[in-house]
């Protein structure tokens, strides 16, 4: 434990390209990507469940890879391309995973669903799941 500073450090200009749109935010260094999305940009599709990397509700894609936004500092992702649940639909058509969740009634309360869908999109991009057991294992970061 070092000397903890009590004065606020400078805000750090941070550019995030979210769902194809560039945003520049002045952020305190401890702002997580999850809080930047929800509290600074009103993109509340990404959910806060545990806030500790355990539930996957906050899953987004950074440069195409699925990650937990609750354990990501936004300032560390300056210039990154971020896709959230709000960015998966294209030209008014739902992403096939979104449509599949509706068709198969794959919700209970729905709170974890955006994270599930973003995680599944990451899983498909990785191309490592070839059978049901592998899908189960590679989706285990959600709930």
């Amino acid at each position: 434990m070092g000397d903890v500073t009590h004065e606020l450090p400078d805000r750090i200009p941070t550019r995030l390209v979210i769902n194809g749109v560039s945003h520049t935010l002045d952020l305190l260094p401890w702002t997580t990507l999850l809080d930047a999305l929800r509290d600074h940009l009103a993109l509340t599709g990404t959910k806060k469940g545990c806030d500790h990397g355990q539930c996957g509700a906050c899953t987004v894609l950074i440069d195409g890879r699925r990650v937990n936004s609750c354990l990501t500092l936004a300032v560390m992702k300056d210039s990154a391309e971020i896709t959230t649940i709000e960015g998966l639909a294209k030209d008014g058509a739902l992403h096939p995973l979104q449509q599949a969740f509706i068709d198969h009634d794959a919700f209970q309360c729905g709170y974890c669903t955006p994270g599930q869908i973003c995680s599944a999109a990451g899983l498909l991009a990785e191309g490592r799941a070839r059978d049901a057991d592998q899908i189960r294992e590679l989706m285990s970061g959600n709930l």
Binding site: V4, P9, G56, G141, N142
Partner: protein, 338 residues
Amino acid sequence: MNNFRYSRASDIADAIRLLAPDPGAKLIAGGTNLIDLMKENVERPSRLIDISRLPLREIVETPDGGLRIGALVPNSDLAYHPLIEQRYPLLASAILAGASAQLRNMASVGGNLMQRTRCPYFYDTATPCNKRSLGSGCSAIDGLNRNHAILGTSNSCIATNPSDMSVALAALGALVHIAGPNGERTIALTDFHRLPDDKPHLDTNLGSGEIIIAVELPPHSFARNYSYLKIRDRMSYAFALVSVAAALELEGNAISGARVALGGVAHKPWRSLEAEAALRGQAATPDHFGHAADLLLQGASARSHNGFKIELARRAVVRTLMQATNATPQSQAHKKIA
């Protein structure tokens, strides 16, 4: 989280320079362990030094036929790298047994080696813990210690190291390359993590101003007869109660070389050269494996709730060595234990 300052290191020398003047400064790579602990107020750095953009993401072959892995290679990229899948499948398997797909995408090799214990008292700032606050006492010794260590403990701390990757690296005889104010040095992975003795606040032998730059795998890769078996309370996304990394070199059914490392049982990955030597020249049978397991577990001692781990570890060692013998490594997706 406490207030802290943020700097982005421009190169390795810059990271070392930024670390030097400030004992409260910490490096951050993937952030998956550090940010979690900062949210719990367990870690309260004065400054974070972001090393995530340093050029330490390469996996290259060494002149002697081994591999050098940059400290910032994400865990998922390492596990899925063709040279790792083909030549060091034990390492790939151990990595895929840990955390989740999202976390493995974020977690770095260096951060994985440095991840801190999952002892619940370490996380709970309302309870005494020598690792968090030296001299305050250890709540686990007379508390809930079901998942605590059975080997190499001290009266100060009975925590375990939670890394799966490190268990495979220990078995493979990996080296850790470190840079610091006095230049570079290399230490064996088995000497990188410490036992708690009377200094449980120190997890590793990394100096406070130093940075891990790479992990090196020696040429001998045990690509055929290996297995990583992780026993946990649920099938996925949980830390090990006990895990075993086993690798054999066989001539027919005779063992010419053996490596066994245990995870979840000590403050560091646990190996015994005596146990491995006892296997050389023997037939690969459950009896011989049981004898080696006894040697590996020599001196194991239980606290009130973790006695089951001793027998669990013994059986897991035998089972994992049989999987290695039969070239039927444990699948990390299909959970049935062969």
